[in-house]
Symmetry: D2
């Protein structure tokens, strides 16, 4: 397929690499130019502008950091909406708010284009191996047209329905579940500590059985070792995600009390100067709340 790719960070780079490896015709664009060098060497054409990355493409993928970036790149002057052909597909892969995705969907529809949301689950190394899970929402015929890309990018797709925002909601729900697991572990570890138990013991117990899964194994280990400075995903970003999930719930008139707890804990961590640490640091914030620090 003729593919454009805008937003070449760590994830974007890994995913675009898979597209190339799948022998698709790839044009890439990044605001900061250096990031595209490696893909250029691998055979991608580097576009001079967003418009250039959209021209003549069947699908343009965006992998952007947040809602303002998405809005600027897609709805700004000479942006994706202005540049994409009628009938072409914009595949958004970044984690955004459902309101932003819905606004984008409406804008593309008005322009005769199609929005597909395809949110990856997995880290850059998983992406580079083509082993991502992909949460996919959009009109069935459009998602079918994207199948060749899904095949090279991911290991498995999870189809959420015809509305792109439905995939976004599921992506947010997944991140929310992870945050809740972290918060619950933080609380459980602080309870154990209050009763004189080493956190390693509780960790061994839970990862031995009911919770023998990466969410608990990986993040529980960080908490036990208090290795919050080896950062996978910061508390600041966790807070951003918690706000996105609460906004999605708000829009749908749904109370999510566990998301409140998670958000407040992240806010406390940030207020106490831990925003740039790994978001597992909420275990420390929980301990602080109980006078353990």
């Amino acid at each position: 397929m003729k593919v454009g790719f805008i937003g070449i960070g760590r994830m974007g780079s890994a995913i675009a690499g898979r597209v190339l490896a799948g022998e698709h015709d790839l044009v890439v664009y990044n605001r900061t130019p250096g990031k595209t060098d490696e893909l250029a060497r691998a055979g991608a054409r580097v576009a001079a502008s967003i418009a250039d990355a959209c021209r003549g493409r069947e699908v343009v993928v965006t992998m952007l950091a947040d809602d303002p970036a998405l809005e600027e790149v897609t709805l700004g002057e000479a942006g994706v909406r202005d540049s994409l052909a009628r009938g072409a597909i914009h595949m958004t892969m970044g984690t955004h708010g459902v309101a932003a995705v819905r606004a984008l969907d409406a804008a593309h529809s008005a322009a005769g284009q199609i929005l597909v949301a395809a949110h990856p689950v997995g880290r850059p190394d998983v992406a580079a191996a083509g082993r991502l899970g992909l949460i996919v929402g959009g009109p069935p015929d459009a998602t079918r047209r994207c199948a060749p890309l899904f095949e090279v990018i991911g290991r498995r797709t999870f189809q959420t329905g015809p509305e792109p925002a439905s995939a976004t909601a599921v992506k947010l729900a997944n991140n929310f579940l992870l945050g809740c697991a972290l918060e619950a572990m933080g609380e459980a570890f602080s309870l154990a500590r209050k009763y004189g138990v080493e956190t390693q013991v509780l960790y061994d117990l839970i990862t031995d059985g009911l919770f023998a899964a990466p969410a608990y194994e990986v993040y529980g280990k960080i908490m036990v070792e208090e290795a919050y400075d080896q950062v996978g995903f910061t508390a600041d970003l966790g807070l951003k995600d918690a706000n996105l999930v609460l906004a999605a719930a708000d829009l749908a008139h749904l109370p999510l009390p566990s998301a409140n707890v998670l958000r407040d804990r992240l806010l406390g961590a940030v207020a106490h100067g831990d925003g740039a640490r790994d978001w597992a640091v909420i275990a420390r914030e929980q301990a602080r709340a109980g006078g353990l620090d």
Copy 2:
């Protein structure tokens, strides 16, 4: 070893069966007599009273339903404390409050006896196979003396420290983590539903990766199928546990906000008539709170 066993319900029966299979000398007692028949056929002596089940025993195990039962059996007249020899061990295996376990510990110490807490993790079928995890707290020499029993009962022990209540706290923390996983899933499923996504899709996603563990696989399935009438553990019992964990946290001056959320959801489920259903029914209560039912 010479072992007494008081409290022959489903779990007690399975564990006592393992003790017998380990060729220990076993005396059993249950308030309701019929429950001991099978163990009697397998070689256990049925005691006529609590005192009878304690006399001459090196270890007396209790597996009782709640704190009042524990208090009555152990501290009541002609109970375990009155009947156990000095230096003998009372091994409590039921899920109790830390305050009750601490009171029991003090009472046994005053009588020259030793309390060990050994809380099983696993269901009766796991117990019957001798595959339980055991959360063990108590004086090191006493827990060492119990090793022959742990070997026949369980697959692995998790040593929490010299205070029996430390094992109780860890057992409660484990149950609490499970409750939080259920609550978070309930919230996540309701969010997905609000965006028109079938719960099965979110289930497939989470059990495919980060959460590929029994806590999510087993209970998530119940939620997707709304099979709340196939009861493993009732909402009423979940509420009892949530209150125990909150009491343990209170005693230790520790806020546990996720436990509040869990407790309130269970209270709501019970208030709406779902107390006797499986505690995964909190997913329905969450949906109700969002106007989805």
Copy 3:
């Protein structure tokens, strides 16, 4: 009336003084004897025992610190239940749990006695002036018989219904409302501070209008002045009350999320060493949670 009075602390002393002033025949008892001297000088007979304070009395009032004290004094050997005549009234005035009051009610009923709950609202100086509000629950004919006492003790009665525990629930609800007002003020003050506003300004605003009432005026002032060492009611006692209201709600299968917030904030205050300070100190704990301290 022939009245017995057990529990002569600051409130008990003030209320018993009013009973005497109303020319009732008063016998008083306190575990620590010195506390009754002043009442003796004013004409009360000092009883030698609980039983002595109950003998021949139409009404025995208790004003006790907590549930264990209530249980011991009333249900212990030679306690109120054992000593009071059939048909006589036990009027409990202390703040207790609804479970304790219900158990007491059942015990008295079984002994042919009548329990009335009459919970005072107001401080000792208000009590000494006979200006208390009284929250009264109990069988109508029994509360009618107590009317002469209510007249000398209080300014106004609030009749909650035939069950004594209904008065207890209302007393707890009142204290809970106060705690929530404190918590909300603490949160609002911390928000103002984050935006560079002096707490006095917000205080002036709220007490000028919507919240021109003692709950906000008195406690808001303590928060503005951070005068937490002038103790009216400690955080420790506030925590006890928060637990009582949550237990009452639990028994009734009612989620009370604001009570969770209040309880957690008090737990945090106690964990950080502020348990003996005035419970308005939760404003400081809230500030701490936001990194303001």
Copy 4:
């Protein structure tokens, strides 16, 4: 003073009426023209456009419904920013988010204009009587220049500091305190009901003493009478305010757990179809959560 006034709803009309009564030179503008007729009859000039309402004015007041309206009117083409003279003052009186007010402040500063926030406390009838409280934030010399207006509009000003958003934060804190009082009352009433107590009894108790203030008297009465269809302020608007206060806290890295409770209760009310009712309807939503409805 030469005053422009944009946004003539019920509050705007009452406040503009006071400005006229104070013999100031008033130009008014409203998107929907009919609303300005009465003020025209009283002597105001009706402007043809926003620009017309700003031209030659020392102060332009806006009283707008929400952040998008504020943004459009002030930052849109030929809006207030484009039309106001250098050195002139924009006085914003609507309830907005702190982020919106800060953005506006920056925009006016860049244009050499001055933003003052002056948030009214009180209803339209209070406004018509010139008895409003005014929460005022802005540069001291600018707020001094506005004093002649404050004198005719309000009874008293509460000066929060040099940043306009500080007044916004205090306005939000005030509304938040009211919401918390409503939520706490709703919870307390449901507890009373669970124990068979009529809500009127609890209402009488609290308004007799600690809580004898409009917040409790006015809204408590609505709850007792379940008069949710006599709407003063809707649950939908309450939810909007709750989100604004949470956004303000988020921006300042401050957990506000009571705001979470309030927001979730309002979300539940809206989800159950009560969004257009008076926001006291959260008492019904609380009852629903406890199975009382």
